[in-house]
Symmetry: D3
Subunit: 245 residues, 6 copies
């Protein structure tokens, strides 16, 4: 059982951290391999960055499909390109944002999300609405820590995130916390111990969900929105990505 | 890793079928054991039956807690007594209804549910609203097959369920199907092959979710609605169930 | 015209207070009688207590049915066991929580609820969502007064509740207040005078609603979710509760 | 205890029928008196008719206030002018549409509404959304019977309404029916017997709700949207309606 | 291309200000003319004032129809009488409230509304719910500036409104501001410059929307709720308003 | 005043048709110019095609920005890349899907959408939910006409679309129709005449909205989700798209 984790940005340190988080929770029978796109942004902080991370990420998913993976994990909390990936792949695809929301819904009435920058809040709120889980989210909060600062051991990232968790407990009556960035995966355990409530990292949740679907023998439905792309001509740079019969 | 599956009704044949469904998907490291209450109804078809299944089910959960389980699965599609069980247990608790809804949301835009009797539809719709996932459910349909008829090999249960799936595909534009009764667990694979879309059994999904939470080291939050019961006096028949310090 | 008020917990002082509140608003032609279960918790503070209050409460409802009552009132703000009671009874059943929400909706655009402990907030929020009235509720607030402290004349319960009402007026723009516990029934009038806005006690509202339904000759629909329980075997302690033809 | 029922249109036969329906359910201690405006349309079938029925209706409410009524009932299913009437009156005001929706919510999971003309459906749907009860309404259906045809004993109004009830039972899974016009008040009992489910007339429900509020000593909140009109100049025809200090 | 702007209150200074705001944004080919009713209140601050502004406003709309206008704009932020006007007119009708909400939705994820008095908040919230746009509105705020104080150059209206905008930016994470009164039309530009985010005046937005519909050759649908009034008798003062064949 | 219309697919015939539709409604002072990407799919039918149309489209938007446009119109009904475009551009950006939904909301209570293939329905429903306008949409229907068949004069596209409009009128009680593909722009007028209700083409609506925003001097808010992209490194093929200070 092979699980593909794709980090949609091009920062190797983050890919490594994500791979470690995934391997830490995977079952013995599961092998994790992590990739990152050749082209695109070094971090994803807003809709524009998202747009340029998707083609390179889909290339990685197409390659991984050939290896017969049990599933793909998109390791960006915005679930960048999730719908396109589901259309492309025959194996199931899970975004770490949705994985975290579903996991939190199973252990708490309401959860709050702590993300990086305020500009990322609307995209997360949109996803919650689309997934149907916005009623379970008390609030999306920003720690105002930039994505790449999470890779800097000297930054005060953890204390800023911790301060928002405290506010979520008292002001939002949050019963659980969702960490809103793949780069926070290594903080979940310590923050959970410190604050005495579930602190959820979407990378770990997504690994569990892929394993669940694999053992249930359930794949993405190809009826409706996730139907395989229709064969057609693609022009220019993207000619090689054109769907074939 | 020990997983407790409790069938909230007192029909042994159904407990056996549920145990088999759970074992079929569990990982090597997981041991499943299934129980049923000593007291209560032989099947759960409506709110009244639910009320009398909960105390006996909670007794089973209390006993299983002592065995140090990784989690509990409530194997009735109404998720009978789920909130009370979460308050009681230290290990996480998953209802097969919610498990199925979450699993379906990961592989399809919209799903339809096929349950047993029409009288069960409102309870399922209530749960979908509470979980926040009603926007993902196209329709809850009844096959008008009684719960215990599912245990009767001569009944036409499968053909009735299959007919509703056909309607769900054409009328509801459902991309996946959720089977709305634990007693249908053995039909999922065949119906999925026949109809060429994901057909989801909540027992299997719940096993996967317990394994996910276990490996993430995440348990039910004790802040808010699922706080441990306060110590107090219980009278009469239920004196032994009184929460203690 | 006979109205049955059942206090789902086993505290006689609370049953007495509830009976007094009901009698104070009943019409001349209406006779009130109040009961409490033989078995179950002394107070209901969370989902676990709820589960053990329902069987004993249903026993009281079954007995009252034989007396030919005009209706039953469940005098716990969580509307404990309401759905099961509606399935069982031929007379209509009203929970004091829903009664209060409906009454408040008739005299105010938005209301806030002041309940006892924070752990009770999620259950009340769930009910508001299920009844469809969550859009009318500005906020559910906790006074952090335990249920049985309301029976203690030396507690500072009233001042804590009053402080939350003040916050509801200024922060929530609440136009009316709903008292979120049957044990607060005796405070409604004084708090309404003090704060100059409607303060609603669900016990009084429920009496009015039962009288309304009685004079309209309207009973619970037996189509759908509230259909009478199907005859079947119940095991063990609950054998005597088994529905019969 | 004096209850004012105002029929917002100028058709005396309808006012008489409404008064009879109200008197049939009122308690012994309650005296009903019914009025209709001097100016405005003979029936209300759409937003334009509504606009011209409100000033004359408010005049009747202002007059009734002087008689010290316990409450006002607006006997048009669109709840025409309800918000303005609540701002004006010191006694509570109930619309028969909202009264029927609340009553139906107490005896059924979901209800369908049968109104007169298709053009009235959007206004009723708007009200359901505003009251927060749209989730409880399965469907608003039109019988395509004009309002004044309900006053014609030779019309086939009842059979058309009955046919829609049949569809509501089978297609909408409606557990109760709300009659969507004051002019249908005399049909509720017979249709309920024929179809074996609750059929609700809003006039009767509104009488019960006014009695409930009266005995609870609860009036419309004057905080927020229903604050008394501010004193100011009104010009021309409406000069006499100007709010005074 | 002739555009009719009707101020539903009788204050000439406000009509003039509204006309100026409309003319400032109209295209060269568009001619604006502004009217106000002969009868009704000098300002609209609540539901009661609304009721008495509508008949006189509909008279102005009927007159303007004869001039062959491209569309009508109702220049009160409550969108007073919008539904009745749409039923009456053959040209499209736009309320400045809805115009502003739609415009804000095109340039911001979420907006906050700053209105005059707190008592106006519920009516605005009702409209947002009915239009379906409440999810786009972060909060409706009151500046506690009375409508006619906006016409007083010595009032501190602007500073109060500005203070609420500041709160909307920090507390609501509002990305745009909607000014919630026609009398604030002249402040939009300066407040936008000061606060560096879009500040939207509904009068200007409504002019643009009428021009859009005119050039698209799209008028109000006469199917459903906005069907032309049915011919019938109107009594008394309103006899002249009776719809004719 | 210069308006940029970008067709996100690479089919010149469709770009020409869209340009003609835009020019037909633009004011005299407005100059329209239409572009299409150099790279990407010949038509957009699902999420995968969307992903590969966005980078090329954003390149066109960046070029148009240099020409000082009043606004950009994304002429694909899925509003492909709308959020990224808004982050990138200083001029406002309107998608033709959202434009059509807003326009329909101004002339009808409820509308139905007629799109091309069934696989496009979920994406349109997602957008309606995100924009907050799903409550205004009765149903999204598919004509099962492929996008490029709309360019084939011999196809039976119009009759298939017309048949769905008929169903929308009778089954959905739709009061207006939204055409769910840019390639249907030339059919709006004839279908509106034939069916006697508003039939809305999003290209025309978007032109009107850009003109409205231009004259109001309102641009996309740069607070929150649409903040300008942060300067950072982009790798490989997309290096040239990296945001700069």
């Amino acid at each position: 059982m092979l699980i593909h984790v794709v980090n949609p940005n091009t920062t190797q340190a983050m890919t490594d951290k994500i791979a470690a988080a995934a391997k830490a929770v995977a079952n013995q029978g599961a092998e994790i391999f992590a990739t990152q796109p050749e082209m695109g942004p070094v971090s994803i902080e807003g809709y524009y960055d998202e747009a340029f991370s998707v083609p390179g990420m889909l290339a990685r998913i197409a390659e991984a499909e050939k290896r017969g993976v049990a599933g793909h994990i998109i390791a960006c909390f915005d679930d960048t390109g999730l719908d396109a990936a589901r259309s492309l792949a025959s194996a199931p695809v899970i975004g770490i944002g949705e994985a975290a929301f579903h996991a939190a819904s199973l252990v708490a009435g309401k959860f709050s999300v702590i993300t990086t920058l305020g500009r990322s809040i609307p995209a997360i709120e949109h996803n919650l609405v689309r997934y149907g889980l916005s009623a379970r989210c008390a609030k999306v909060r920003a720690s105002e820590v930039a994505v790449l600062s999470l890779e800097d051991p000297k930054s005060d990232a953890r204390s800023k995130i911790s301060a928002e968790i405290e506010l979520a407990k008292t002001h939002d009556r949050a019963e659980a916390i969702v960490l809103g960035c793949a780069g926070m995966a290594d903080l979940a355990r310590a923050l959970s111990d410190q604050h005495e409530l579930p602190v959820i990292d979407g990378v770990a949740a997504a690994v569990g969900l892929i394993e669940m679907l694999y053992r249930m023998n359930i794949k993405t439905s190809k009826r409706g929105g996730y139907a395989s792309p229709l064969p057609k001509v693609y022009s220019g740079t993207f000619a090689g990505f054109a769907p074939k019969k």
